[in-house]
Symmetry: D3
């Protein structure tokens, strides 16, 4: 592995070490610290007993997500969005992606008129913050719903299927899994994939930052993502103490 | 065709009638009205003789895009973003997509320290405003660069390849091309594809709004998109008076 | 006329060619494209079934207006107000003017607790965008109220009187009607007049941009405006298929 | 006079008592408290030794104005604009009017690359705050320019002509001068007039809040305004110790 | 006193001349102009017949404060916060301090579901604007509550105790009372003290701008503040016509 | 200790367990996780090679601080300030306090034209976040300056004196040290004290939230703070490997 072309020495199809720590902070109904190598994100899930205006009285729930980076989570310090008075387009794009991904994982009609707020806050960034966020938020959300079961407010966790996410890309002409920052900042193609435990896609977002990519490359990348996400979902279930299918 | 399952009666692989009208307004260096059926977008390209701060002195150019919808371009009136004092996440996501797509089409190092501003303003919306925007902006940008050639500021249009975009999706369990609003608002999967004239992908953004989608479906959708975009690029070249390859 | 001192060759008391196209977009209850020469404005009227808080329960309606310019409607590209996060003082002044003018034209107590939203969006600017906006919005509003009559929600269009607007000014020491951009940018006095079909004033806003103006000049300008607006109102009625009084 | 139809008992052509107090605060180069009856406005003129970007290097000066109301200057407390985070359309309209009026009064090319900032802050409002602001700001600006003369930075006050402003309107069918709040809130027509010492108009802004007005009424109102402003300019000169022409 | 080290020639323990003028403006329920030497602040108290959301239905009242400075209240002109679109951190800190101080002076449960809005607007600044604001607002609030008594809406002014405020500091190594601007801008330690008529502290905010200060200094400063505030409270009662205890 | 009146069972003069973990994140020049019991704050210090405009060319450095709370660091989820588009008054007050405290600890003239940005982000809140922030930021700043020494950019850490901060208050009529959330939310008096290693005060901010407090109480509180801060500074030095004086 030491003669890998990847800066980290990883094999092309190797994830970084992934660690998911539950109950990371004490107030949130679900709170997870997820690490994809040096990328560390705190994902919390908070339950609120009401829904946004457009859903009032419809008897269903809602899930929404917000995303942020600590100013010095990155190589050089970024301006604080709260101080600038607005969230960047990138931030909004990511939090919309997290929200859609999590809403696909749960049955919104099975937990009453409640909102589950997902907060993903990046403590340290080294590539893949949005995929780590989705993967960690899945566990935090599961824990939060388990709290509602414990409190006997719902009968069971309203799970449709587990989801997890990973990035794939073309780095130095090779398809690779789980790009870290040195790879991400120089790759030609970058694709973020969100997939269910059944191998179905929830989101596929591929961008050619350099050369446009062909169908063959796309297929290889999707294969890599499929295997990586399968491993991540197994890990999610393991840390939750669920039987891995 | 009248027994189609599509509300418009179109075949699954049929584009709506597409019309590209150049020189739509008089001040912009490039100005195009593009129509995808009832979706109508004004795309202008404006040249400014300077670049953003992060590129100053590097001898290269930049392209950036903004997107907006007239308040009553939609079925019910939307709030005006200028009055609300901020652009929605959706708006920012779309204008980032347009910008990346157009930057891939031209050689940023071949037109000096200039910025090309793309503005895509939706006059009437009926689904597919972002793909119409990209497809129209390609022509507007080509015209704007032609102005620089005419003025003898650059030798030739700094074209890398033509790009166009189309949406595909799964509507009533069938893969279809170029979703209009009645389809878009009820489809399970929605995918926006940006492709070059050589059949390579610049962007693939697939979202499962209902059921997650499998690889087979994804392949069918990409095939549909490939053919649709091929037709759109032929049309772009035709309206520009270029030889269709 | 070719030896006119006006850049356009027009006689001092000549309007530019005025075209009013109804049903310009399909979603709005009223939608008009109005052209004063090269100035082109889309005016839409949208009906909402509620009134602002200060009118709730009073049994009367409200009309309000917003105004915007596409970034490249002008000679050099302007910043997009939605991106800057605020509307300029000029924009707010114009939309307040449009709103007051339209509210004077209709009987606010005769169409129930509804709000009519006027949107005037400038596609191409060549002077006189606010007067074109008012003149076009009058027709769009009439169409929107006609929709309420068609739907049998009100008995008749709650018209008090037609209004239209035109600019007059002193260009190269001569009073002239309907200033285009080359004139507007160099004139000494600029006056915008909103008048009813009965020759009464709704708004008179005269500004000496260079030399202050005397009473004699003011009277000449008001005469020019009177005749121009009389013609505009005849055209409004004609395109609406009403008998010109 | 006690049988006047005006709530204040004034004759139709009577100004309220007007008091102009110079040197009201100590830091500003020009500082005036102006009172039109119960309307009290602090007008300051501040000199800054630079001009806005668009004038840099052109060798001329600039004048600009801002306007504000203390939250409880009015009958019921208004929200503080600084707390709301934006200035209303009304505020912006007024400060643009004050700025244009003052720029017409002085020769912008005769005081170097300096900006004169006018601030008009309403301490107590009882109608006519914008006309009091213009009238008071004229004196404050004159004082500020006199400071530059004292400091031997310019040879003389760069005066083109004195300007002052007054409102006129139709109250209970009668044309009246200098509307106070009880009149202003119920009048049919409201016109603000800014005029030079030579009787020429700088601004005429007439609005029919109720019935539209005819030419005859307009002429009567302008006559009233002419006489009122003539008196105000005489007072401005008197408090400045200048010979009244 | 002329050989004092203080720029003003004052003794170390001397207040500047303090003047409190009631009924300064006519609309507010309480309106006071307070002067601490050249520092002049308009303090108004406005009564609104409702409480913020978090207190609705609890049967108690609320008091809140806002603070502002006229742009040219200071030596060089500051930007207007309403134009910048936000209040500075300093402004927010001061208005929170004023609000807490005033809420401690009155019994919030004794005047029903009403809000008393305090507005402190600095007309001229020469140091000590926040302490003058608190001291003046106390009188304005008392007057406003007296209005409620007059209108027979409450039985008596819901006073807990009088409060007033003063600054103390270390200037040229000497503890001094009531710093003016020349002292404030060069002092080592600056402390603002809010105290009740019974000699108890409501707020003590000491900041070492240069050298940190020791306990001895702190005690001396608190002694100075105690005596100064005692005098201010005597004056508050005197201008209100109350018996000085 | 089990029969303490404090909810935590602590003695009145007992700190919570304090843990300071250096090198918590990898990008920042200084990065500390500080824990005061359940309160956990990430404090980073980032060096930038330029100073704000007002210091340019003066040859000195600057230190500034920002503060934030993760939305679910608190009992119930707070709105994200970046999403609301502005920082609260409380946030601004705290970050100003942290900035002043840190600036007093270092010699701004001894590290060139550089800015040290302090970021304090609360991961979990249980009272005392601002005092934990200051105490942790001191260590992060020390580490950051040590980096400059290592890189041979300055000769030694430009330390003036160590500072740390603690809260004290009156809870159930007893003076106590280091209030946790259950105490803080119900105490009568809350005082935040910032002190140097020499026992001198940098900031004393005492607020009577309920009953005003007398001099005796104040002295007791300052004694408690003195002892607590002395312990904190010993810990700071210990974790930095410095000799405790």
């Amino acid at each position: 592995m030491s003669n890998s072309f990847r800066p980290s020495g990883r094999a092309p199809d190797a994830l970084r070490p992934v660690v998911i720590s539950r109950h990371f902070t004490k107030h949130a109904e679900g709170s997870v610290l997820i690490e994809f190598g040096d990328t560390r994100v705190i994902c919390t899930a908070s339950i609120e007993d009401k829904v946004p205006g457009f859903l009032k009285g419809k008897g269903q729930g809602w899930m929404t997500a917000e995303y942020g980076m600590l100013p010095r989570s990155t190589h050089s310090r970024m301006d604080r969005e709260a101080a600038k008075g607005k969230q960047s387009g990138r931030t909004q794009e990511i939090q919309r992606l997290i929200g859609r991904s999590l809403r696909s994982a749960f049955d919104l009609e099975a937990f009453g008129e409640r909102t589950l707020h997902i907060d993903c806050d990046v403590i340290q960034a080294d590539g893949g913050t949005r995929t780590a966020s989705i993967t960690g938020a899945m566990v935090a959300a599961y824990d939060a719903f388990s709290k509602l079961v414990e409190r006997e407010l719902i009968l069971r966790v309203p799970l449709r299927h587990f989801v997890a996410a990973i990035s794939v890309g073309v780095y130095q002409s090779h398809p690779v899994l789980d790009l870290d920052y040195p790879e991400d900042s120089q790759c030609d193609t970058d694709m973020n994939v969100v997939m269910t435990e059944h191998g179905h896609f929830v989101e596929v977002q591929g961008t050619a930052e350099g050369e446009a990519f062909d169908r063959m490359t796309m297929n290889t990348l999707l294969n890599l993502a499929h295997d990586g996400i399968t491993d991540l979902i197994a890990l999610q279930k393991e840390v939750l103490g669920l039987q891995v299918s």
